[in-house]
């Protein structure tokens, strides 16, 4: 066979080698196990979230990556340790293919099944979500970050297996991957530095993520760059692994004169490979370092996290949407993604809105607003002229009243009372206390409790009588007595007193004893 003919056959034989590796890879046997885990963990978790694309997609990095990562890392290490485990290194060193080509084929075989399983799971998740959402489209950045993370895990596992082909390597890599994943998750949830953003796992997202502002891809770009850099560095080390396994071939200075003089075993590498591999390692480390540096500059904004060097100002512009409204005397509008919740919100707010109608500063309508402003969670507030009650799903009623994504929880009396309490807190106690567990002053607490009682709602726990209060302050029993007294007034008398005293009450100038 001529050299030309041999070269023409090379892609075909490479394809055949890849097919063999795919067919014989152990990862395929783990896929049924992963399917069961997927149904029990990410799929069920996502089903409990509100049908909002970005919120449902958060399970890809917070749950799927954990399940897939353990097996991807462990079985990649298993594939990487094959030659060492079977003691066929010397035998294979005599074959026509260099070591890096054989290892690349084995790694590609593992990656094929890992990515196939991962993308199939994402497809199932997105198809289920698409059948329920009423607004928006599927986010692709979590899929990209998840895929790159799995590639990185496979590369690390494979290289560990190739370098240390012991029986403990695969399980230890698998355990190490999930420990790292959870440590990253812990850092993402806790008060840590911006470098924690490099972890693909993230804390719970606000339920309206991606609805009012587009999700900025800055952090996702930095994560892909970081993990891509690590992958490149690890692959470079893998390419050098025959030399690393035979330390005698790396004797200084004789073997480090320049490519071509590396005395690697026959078939292990080509003369150009060490230079390329070292360049790839250096480039990978540079990319990972750059990504870490960029993550250090991140700061919270309305659209998530901003990394100045990567940020597109268009991400900060609010998204246009046609609000979904109901009601005539008191109009309630929600984001179209929360259409399924509109009637529950209206049913909760209508009675309290009617109770306070006509009072100074009482809202004439209610409108859903973004939960996050400049990175901080916002409570319900009354703004504008004429006054509008702006609420969101996160802080209505000290988190307990948050949108839970299911109408079942929305119809519960607790949620209803807490949502009404948030509305009354915003009116009676002002914006400073909205969303906090209770109004600031005892008189404000008593009035809110009385108004809730008047509309027939269950009094929230924070307003119920429990033991004695701090010294010098009215006790919860005294507040409850005042609330009962105020609630027992005729509706017209209560309304008239509030019309006259609401500004003073809101300013904290009314004491408990002054309540009628």
């Amino acid at each position: 066979m001529t050299a030309l003919a041999a070269r023409a056959l090379a892609p075909a034989s490479a394809g055949r080698l890849l097919r063999l590796e795919i067919r014989r890879n152990a990862m395929v046997w783990a896929l049924p196990l992963l399917a069961v885990l997927f149904v029990y963990d990410p799929y069920r978790t996502a089903s409990g979230y509100p049908p909002v694309w970005d919120v449902r997609a958060s399970v890809i990095l917070n749950h799927m990556l954990f399940d897939f990562g353990a097996f991807a890392g462990g079985l990649a290490a298993w594939a990487g340790s094959r030659d060492g485990r079977r003691q066929t290194r010397d035998l294979l060193a005599a074959t026509a293919r260099p070591a890096w080509a054989r290892q690349a084929a084995a790694l590609a075989g593992t990656l094929f099944w890992v990515l196939l399983g991962f993308l199939a799971a994402v497809a199932v998740l997105y198809i289920q979500t698409a059948r329920q959402v009423t607004w928006g489209g599927p986010p692709l950045w979590p899929v990209a970050v998840g895929a790159v993370a799995l590639i990185t895990i496979c590369a690390i596992g494979f290289t560990a297996g190739a370098l240390v082909p012991g029986r403990f390597t695969a399980p230890l890599v698998a355990v190490g991957v999930v420990v790292l994943d959870l440590v990253g998750f812990r850092e993402a949830l806790g008060p840590s530095s911006a470098y924690a953003l490099l972890s693909p796992s993230a804390g719970a997202l606000p339920d309206d993520t991606g609805l009012f502002y587009p999700v900025a891809p800055d952090v996702a770009i930095a994560q892909v760059m970081f993990m891509g850099g690590i992958t490149a560095a690890v692959l470079g080390i893998l390419a050098l692994s025959p030399a690393l396994r035979w330390p005698g071939t790396l004797r200084w200075p004789g073997t480090l004169r320049w490519p071509g003089t590396w005395r690697l075993p026959a078939g292990a590498t080509g003369p150009w490979l060490p230079a390329v591999a070292i360049t790839v390692v250096a480039a990978g480390l540079a990319a990972a370092g750059t990504a870490a540096g960029l993550a250090g500059t991140a700061r919270p904004v309305v659209s998530g996290w901003e990394i100045p060097a990567l940020h597109n100002a268009a991400s900060d512009r609010p998204l246009a949407y046609p609000p979904d409204c109901t009601g005539t005397s008191f109009q309630v509008c929600v984001h179209p993604a929360f259409s399924f919740f509109r009637d529950d919100v209206a049913a909760a707010l209508d009675p309290v809105a009617a109770e306070v109608a006509g009072l100074p500063g009482a809202p004439l309508s209610a409108e859903e607003a973004a939960a996050r402003g400049k990175g901080a969670l916002l409570g319900g507030v009354i703004t504008g002229i004429p006054p509008v009650y702006e609420f969101n799903g996160e802080r209505a009623g000290s988190l307990i009243g948050a949108f839970q994504g299911t109408t079942a929880s929305a119809s519960s009396s607790t949620w209803r009372a807490l949502f009404q309490q948030a509305f009354l807190d915003a009116l009676v106690a002002g914006p400073a206390h909205a969303g906090s567990p209770g109004p600031a002053s005892p008189a404000q607490q008593a009035v809110v409790t009385a108004l809730l009682t008047a509309v027939g709602s269950q009094v929230p726990q924070s307003h119920q009588v429990a033991g004695g209060g701090p010294p010098g302050e009215p006790s919860p029993a005294q507040i409850a007595a005042a609330a009962n007294r105020f609630a027992a007034l005729p509706s017209a008398a209560r309304h008239a007193w509030l019309a006259a005293h609401l500004p003073a009450l809101r300013a904290g100038q009314v004491t408990l004893a002054q309540l009628p």
Binding site: D41, T45, A70, F71, G166, L172
Partner: protein, 221 residues
């Protein structure tokens, strides 16, 4: 050919300077062939990692999240135990080894005890959420799962099922499942959870003792 270059074969080396009972030597060779010393190092490493996780607050201090990293490390310890079930000798050893089932039983029991001890040592004074009882129950149960898995996959891949159970139990922990089969999510004194973990361990240990892990001569780690 002449006999000039012929030499008598070298005499068999004296095995030890002092007499070692054959039983002890048999046990030691069995442990070496299963990489038990390396497994012991791995178990001590698991204890050290658990200590580091508690010391440097890699995990939450309370609530269901607090059990997540300890559970992973316990699964790692179980995985280190069950990969020692692989024999490099295969059928030949089965045909000649009369004491093999007892050696398998003793090795698995000793390593399980060592794992619990090493992890307990790691958390001493560090305040592990749910305490040593849950730790021991998790190690016992997941080791049993791994030993059962070794009958099907062979010892080298027997870590797969304990890890899958761990991933499943993570979800059960967060969802506060009450089934005793999800024993990592149950309180320390839960009798049903103890029963399930011990039954799995007993069945796995008995099956492994009797038949040993599935063998493949291709893998010789």
């Amino acid at each position: 050919m002449t006999a000039a270059g012929w030499q008598d074969p070298p005499a068999a080396p004296v095995l030890a300077a002092w007499p070692v009972p054959a039983g002890v030597r048999l046990v030691w060779l069995h442990l070496l062939s299963r990489r038990v010393p390396a497994a012991a190092v791995a178990l001590v490493g698991c204890g050290a990692v658990l200590r580091a996780a508690l010391q440097w607050h890699w995990t939450f201090s309370s609530g269901p999240y607090a059990q997540r990293i300890p559970l992973i490390i316990e699964a790692g310890a179980a995985a280190a135990i069950v990969v020692t079930s692989h024999s490099p000798f295969g059928e030949a050893e089965r045909a000649t080894g009369r004491w093999l089932p007892w050696l398998r039983l003793g090795t698995a029991l000793a390593l399980t005890g060592l794992a619990i001890g090493a992890l307990q040592l790691g958390v001493t004074g560090a305040g592990l959420n749910e305490g040593i009882m849950v730790l021991a129950r998790n190690v016992i149960g997941m080791t049993g799962i791994g030993l059962l898995c070794s009958l099907v996959t062979g010892g080298l891949l027997a870590w797969i099922l304990p890890l899958a159970y761990m991933a499943f139990a993570q979800y059960a922990l967060l969802e506060a499942w009450r089934s005793p089969w999800t024993w990592p999510a149950r309180p320390p004194a839960d009798r049903g959870a103890w029963l399930c973990a011990c039954v799995v361990f007993a069945v796995g240990l008995a099956a492994f003792t009797i038949s040993g892990a599935r063998n493949s001569l291709a893998d010789n780690a």
